[in-house]
Symmetry: C2
Subunit: 302 residues, 2 copies
């Protein structure tokens, strides 16, 4: 079933101990859409400037990604620049230029409005809600990502948006900040009162944890000997997670567990090379093989 | 089969946001022996002073723990004092008094010398090797724990001891320090060259990871809403891990995976209350139930 995503399409300048790029295509919606397109049809909503070329746009071609909702305008595309520490565990943001994103008013093409699965990537909570309002009827599943910036500066807007969200997909420090609670189980209880019935906590090299009323499900991160660039790992996780759910057409416990695994699979590929390089070259059988690897890595009998 | 452990029996003074105790029975060998005794017979080697009372000794009574190897001497028992941070993630050591442990020369009772499973808890590498030498023939399985103190100050002695070890059971910072390698997969390769063929990395609230030539196995930590005291969690993990292996009498992939789960189960109980309080009151059916809980928390189909 159709999966709608709204979020940033961006150019990133990154540096890690493994190398440096000055202008890599990136952005949450880009990583998400590419990752999700291995599983389902994706409707992309975002904005780019006139520096976004035909070559850049090729990332979406030949995939099941509709870009009618990717607005093109005069000005520069969102730009982010950051440096990763020696062990890739810390990231320093050097530059965030919103550019054309500053005045973005998302407008859904008519054919997007019947999307049943919606992912609100990390942008201003007001914009997230604005997109959600344009979706006809009640979607089957709405998931949302956010970050410390919005939790701190637009907390009440975020709270309002969260009332309409089924699954919150954030990292552990965001979970703690949003709930004012260090313990993740107690944090989940706070967050359930805000609207979402499922919390997915992304924990980087430690994997991901899902909490809902049925309990907890954990999946490890795929151990890599040479991770190159963590940029987009969380968005690729979300893409695999939501892409799988949309393709399954259901969100029961079994489907959610598989979605967690496919999310982790896509996140693990994203970090193997710089920017979108690994996802760009990825083939479906590699996804299947890695999911089996996750199975081997976690299964036991009693 | 019989499981031999050598390590500290100690008194701890601890403070966490959940409370404070001035003199709690503790020590690596104590936690290990109590945890392992739910699975197998344990031969304990250690030393205590004349402040170790009959009431203290009751922790070992009514369990399958042989204390003939627990030497009693004049002087004070090993004493450790520490304070945990608000979220229990950090620990500050206030006092370490070796006391009777300073001149400890472990001597194995004759009946201990045929032990087939050996756990060398965190003590000086020379003492660990000394104990190992007193075991007759080649044990089926030798596991070892150590810490930054020995890695820094007695590195060559530790390297010598590691040549005789099958399974190294340490935490992630120790893994990184011992191997001079941040990435845990690359760290494992370095460690395999030192002797052990299996590396078990304890990662606290993130669970545990086992690496051997077959690959990687991960188990999460049991999420608790109110962990009280992390003291002894790693030693209880090791007790569950080695206790299960000794009871199974084999260490194939299936058994090692189960051992990882039972290790995590025992570690999760240890942190629920102060000191040994939770393990002291624990019943076997609770262990079985929690192992099933770990199963529910991790299993999926593709």
């Amino acid at each position: 079933m159709s999966l709608l995503v709204v979020g940033s399409v961006a150019f990133d300048a990154l540096e890690s101990p493994y190398g440096k790029v000055d202008r890599a295509l990136g952005g949450a919606a880009t990583y998400f859409a590419v990752a999700a397109s291995f599983f389902t049809h994706v409707n992309l909503v975002g904005i780019v400037g006139d520096d976004f070329t035909e070559i850049d746009a090729q990332i979406f071609r030949g995939r099941t990604i509709d870009v009618e909702g990717l607005e093109r305008t005069t000005g520069k595309t969102f730009f982010w620049s950051g440096v990763y520490s020696e062990n890739l565990n810390e990231r320093t943001t050097l530059v965030t230029d919103l550019n054309v994103f500053a005045d973005f008013k998302p407008k859904l093409p008519e054919k997007y409005r019947s999307s049943k699965y919606v992912f609100l990537a990390n942008i201003a909570p007001d914009l997230q809600r604005d997109v959600l309002k344009q979706v006809k009827g009640t979607p089957k599943l709405v998931a949302l990502d956010t970050m410390n910036y919005w939790i701190e500066r637009t907390n009440s807007e975020l709270r309002e948006t969260l009332r309409h969200v089924d699954i919150l997909v954030i990292n552990d420090s965001e979970t703690r900040q949003l709930s004012s609670e260090h313990n993740l189980l107690r944090a989940a209880k706070h967050i359930f009162k805000m609207g979402p019935s499922t919390l997915v906590v992304k924990r980087g090299e430690y994997g991901a944890m899902m909490v809902d009323k049925r309990g907890v499900f954990c999946v490890p991160a795929f151990p890599l000997e040479e991770p190159h660039d963590p940029t987009g790992a969380g968005d690729s996780f979300a893409g695999g997670f939501m892409g799988y759910l949309a393709s399954a057409g259901k969100a029961n416990d079994l489907a959610l567990r598989r979605a967690m695994v496919y999310g982790s699979v896509m996140g693990s590929f994203a970090v193997e090379k710089f920017g979108l390089d690994r996802l760009r070259a990825l083939k479906k059988p590699e996804i299947t093989a890695r999911a089996r690897h996750f199975y081997k890595m976690t299964q036991f009998t009693l």
